[in-house]
Symmetry: C2
Subunit: 343 residues, 2 copies
Amino acid sequence: MNVCPLPSTGDDRVLLGHGAGGRLSADLLTGHVLPALGSAADGPLEDAAPLPGDDTLVMTTDAFVVSPLFFPGGDIGILAVNGTVNDLAMRGARPLALTVALVIEEGLGLAELDAALVSLGKAAGEARVPVVAGDTKVVGRGHADRLFITTTGIGRRLPELSPSATRARPGDAVLLSGPIGAHGTAVLSVREDLGFATDITSDTRPLHRMVQALTPLGSHVHTLRDPTRGGLAAALNEIARDSRVCVRIEEPALPVPRQVAGACDLMGLDPLHVANEGCMVAFIAPDHADEALRLMRALPEGQDATRVGEVTDGPAGRVVLRTLVGAERLVDMPLGEQLPRIC
Amino acid sequence: MNVCPLPSTGDDRVLLGHGAGGRLSADLLTGHVLPALGSAADGPLEDAAPLPGDDTLVMTTDAFVVSPLFFPGGDIGILAVNGTVNDLAMRGARPLALTVALVIEEGLGLAELDAALVSLGKAAGEARVPVVAGDTKVVGRGHADRLFITTTGIGRRLPELSPSATRARPGDAVLLSGPIGAHGTAVLSVREDLGFATDITSDTRPLHRMVQALTPLGSHVHTLRDPTRGGLAAALNEIARDSRVCVRIEEPALPVPRQVAGACDLMGLDPLHVANEGCMVAFIAPDHADEALRLMRALPEGQDATRVGEVTDGPAGRVVLRTLVGAERLVDMPLGEQLPRIC
């Protein structure tokens, strides 16, 4: 009997998809990173972690490797600040301080470095968070791709709020603070190997003021998350898993700008999988959803806030989409290989 | 009249030397990074920065890009923990928590990633500091060199100590906790383009317990610094600059292991410029120097602690070496291009 050999899955090496925020990323995290670090691999993974001994302080870190460095609506510098400020905000914290570590490829133009750093400094100023420490390393040509920035943030939790990926409950309204899909399609639109032109611009912006605006709702704010890598699909799947609930979203309610939808069609992407850098999804106790929408819409960054779904008592860990024609389809965690280096 | 054009200095691009911890690094920092971030470019640059609003907490960040990833006596994982723990310790702080951000080159073997991460986890366990948050990015082949790790640490200052690069005073004894030059020469010894074999091993180790052991000396501990990139020469020059003092070290007292001296001779390096990852220099009020040496020598990591010089009332900002024959020579800040990617 002949036996077909299994094709090599390449699973003894790191693949691009391991970094894209989807199922492969989760595999790398739970199968390799967390066990090696002695961390519990089955606990909820939040956007920021409380400090041991003082859980009013939370910390988060992100490596930014976006390519190209400059794209419509933003650049690596502004992304490095807003991404970190937003991870703190999703735990109900206001940013206290940032650190910035640069890895620079030899030969990068100082003018480009300056432009990225000035943008970073400006974004930090606008978010009113100081950069307190930094590090600069230079590696030889071909050993990095121009510039990587790792930002770490520390924040103090607003005492009124205690959002967590574990606190979504059946009945919760699922709100979205703005349209989805702009960041990922803006970055891809200027990637040289795709090279089509649109006027889609990244939605990168800090979200901590909008979170602060929700403090009157107190503990009725159950869960906050910014749907970055892996898009809204990944964010909702993580929340459904960590809260052990079912999330149903309504396709007609999803705010996908026409141009984003067109670009996604062209590239064969699902807008639900595309990274965002300036919107958040909020799970709010049902009786307080309208108030939450009102508070969010009062700010420029939340003016298009809208309700997109709810938490049901369906199977735990599942995310379903009710389509335009009333059918339901499963929203999977993206596998993850389609959108590398989007942030 | 003919005018010779000036040769291009390449100063519109980032050079390898900009990352080596010497004068070029300082130029990049004060000429580009700090102004862009809106930070004061003339203040003292310490190993870790106090948190705004709570100066009992300090933060530090470091990007580790060492090549190769594994070298005699250590690897990138252990370096990423010890380097950060030590930067906190140099401000008199014990480590509370670490964050870890990985940038992985597509194709890195998972076995190598695991080995580096297990080593990182083990080092964190030994220093009793938890890794509370992390991030993982993957970039395409040729867009990074295998693995970069950025570690950020937060620590709480020991109330007894307030060491600072600005507090060295004339009369202070300059102590060194152990021999110098091992880390840099160990890494270079296995770089493929040098490829000579020695049995020099990196001195990487955490130093926070030794700092804690100095608490009985209280404010008599003026300055602590781990002489990493740029070596002892850079550390002493920074302290002389920030404290506005003159530092004199005695060549016969410098603990340079015979094998390190031989390797440096072979490579044309000055052991004073070579990175260390497991020793510290301490500036101690003169009447308490012997007690400091006794406390340091009581621990394995300080068993070879020794006095190497003193602070004099000579010209501010100057570091001089009294040679074996009694002559004095200036110890310059290394220019910085000779030892890239040593940490």
